[in-house]
Amino acid sequence: MAHDEYKDLLLAQALTALDESDQQTLAEHLENCAECRSELNQWEQTASLLSLDAKPLEPSPELRGRILNSLSVSASNRASEGTNVVQLPVAKPSSSWAAWGAIAAAVMFVALAIGLAVLWQQNRATKDQLARLNEELQQTNRQLADERAVTTLLTDPNARRAALVGTSLAPAAQATLAYDRDGRAILLAKDLPPAPAGKAYQLWFIAGGTPLPGKVFRPTPQGGGTLLDQIPQNALNAIFAVTLEPESGVQKPTGEIYLKSGS
């Protein structure tokens, strides 16, 4: 590609609008071309001004406090003010050299104290960050395990499937419950009416006329819902139903039935 042809890619890159192949071609060129890097900078300045076309909006008043509270390190400049540093008792200097020595020692002590304070703060910040990352990792692992379970169930040729149809309360709603012989189940529902505040849909396994409680879920704004659950072993041939219940779920159904499988 001729040098001038890269120029056309720069302005689209400033809008991050390049398709992947163009983006890769340009990235390789930019590594070796300071002129184009500089020009890209200028295009990015122009592109950033487009942000001013967005209507300015006020975030919630709580956000400021939330951000400041989340800063893991309290300002180390407080430490650097050195207000808590203990003054060393200085012996009467016998000469000006001794006086300078005492001053130097005091300065070194202050510097050491500041250094220790900064290190302590950094250590605490690192620990906080590690704990946060660990928590994120665990959450990601849980999501991954859920997603694996969904994929396994949906692709298992031996999995059984029950169709749930909407009752008169939700005639358009429908759902499929796929489950394996161990009772691992996934419910995929669509076109459910929105759940009012404090309410959620709950899955039930009705075995021998007795409803056994499943988990609860809130539908998406589009009325969709996905739920991973475990069917009790004695309810693998049950009738499946979905009712509207308090958000925390109940042990016995109290609300209306919205979805139900055939007997």
Binding site: L11, L15, T16, T46, L50, S51, K55, L57, I67, Q121
Partner: protein, 190 residues
């Protein structure tokens, strides 16, 4: 005597933030929250998502202020680029939402806000708005779909049912004209 945060330049604030000065971060937030939150809202159309983005951006600034290189661009450009980039990442992650700028425009226009008067930036906004108004509709739409909709050139071509070559030409012509119009007002935008 040190200047108050309100008197400090953006670069001064970033230097102070690099020294982990919380007040400087608070001042930077106060200075740019309306623009950055408005930008994230225009892209995401969700207050919750936009606030999460703003929080992530400020935390990134807190952690990386020391690495900010003034010779490569202005603090404002950095803040806006971080915000847009994180908002578009989130938009792509959400995926299911319709990624059209029109939808975002409609929703933000319906919202009421007491932020209409942002005296510091209202003049700069007016300049950008006027420059965009001078572009032909199809060029303006191409730029806003890319910038606020996070669409690539191919995605814009598909959405507008327009040949890719035409989209590239509109983007090039539009950006060049926009640069010329804004450069003419450079001293008021800096």
């Amino acid at each position: 005597m040190h200047p108050t945060p309100a008197q400090q330049t953006d670069a001064d604030l970033l230097h102070a933030i690099a020294r982990q000065d919380e007040q400087a971060l608070a001042a930077l937030y106060d200075r740019y929250r309306l623009i950055l939150f408005g930008l994230a809202m225009r892209i995401l159309s969700s207050r919750e998502d936009a606030e999460d983005v703003l929080q992530d951006v400020l935390l990134q600034v807190w952690r990386q202020a020391a690495k900010f290189d003034e010779t490569r661009g202005k603090p404002f450009t950095w803040l806006v680029t971080l915000t847009r980039s994180r908002a578009i990442d989130r938009l792509r992650m959400i995926g299911s939402r319709q990624r059209t700028d029109d939808a975002a425009i409609r929703e933000t226009q319906e919202m009421t806000s007491d932020a209409a008067l942002d005296a510091v930036n209202s003049e700069r906004r007016a300049i950008v708005r006027r420059a965009l108004d001078e572009l032909p509709d199809e060029q303006r739409r191409t730029l806003t779909l890319a910038y606020f909709g996070g669409l690539t050139q191919s995605e814009i071509a598909a959405q507008l049912a327009t040949p890719l070559g035409t989209v590239k030409t509109r983007m090039r012509t539009g950006m060049m004209k926009l640069r010329d119009l804004l450069n003419a007002k450079r001293e008021m935008l800096d």
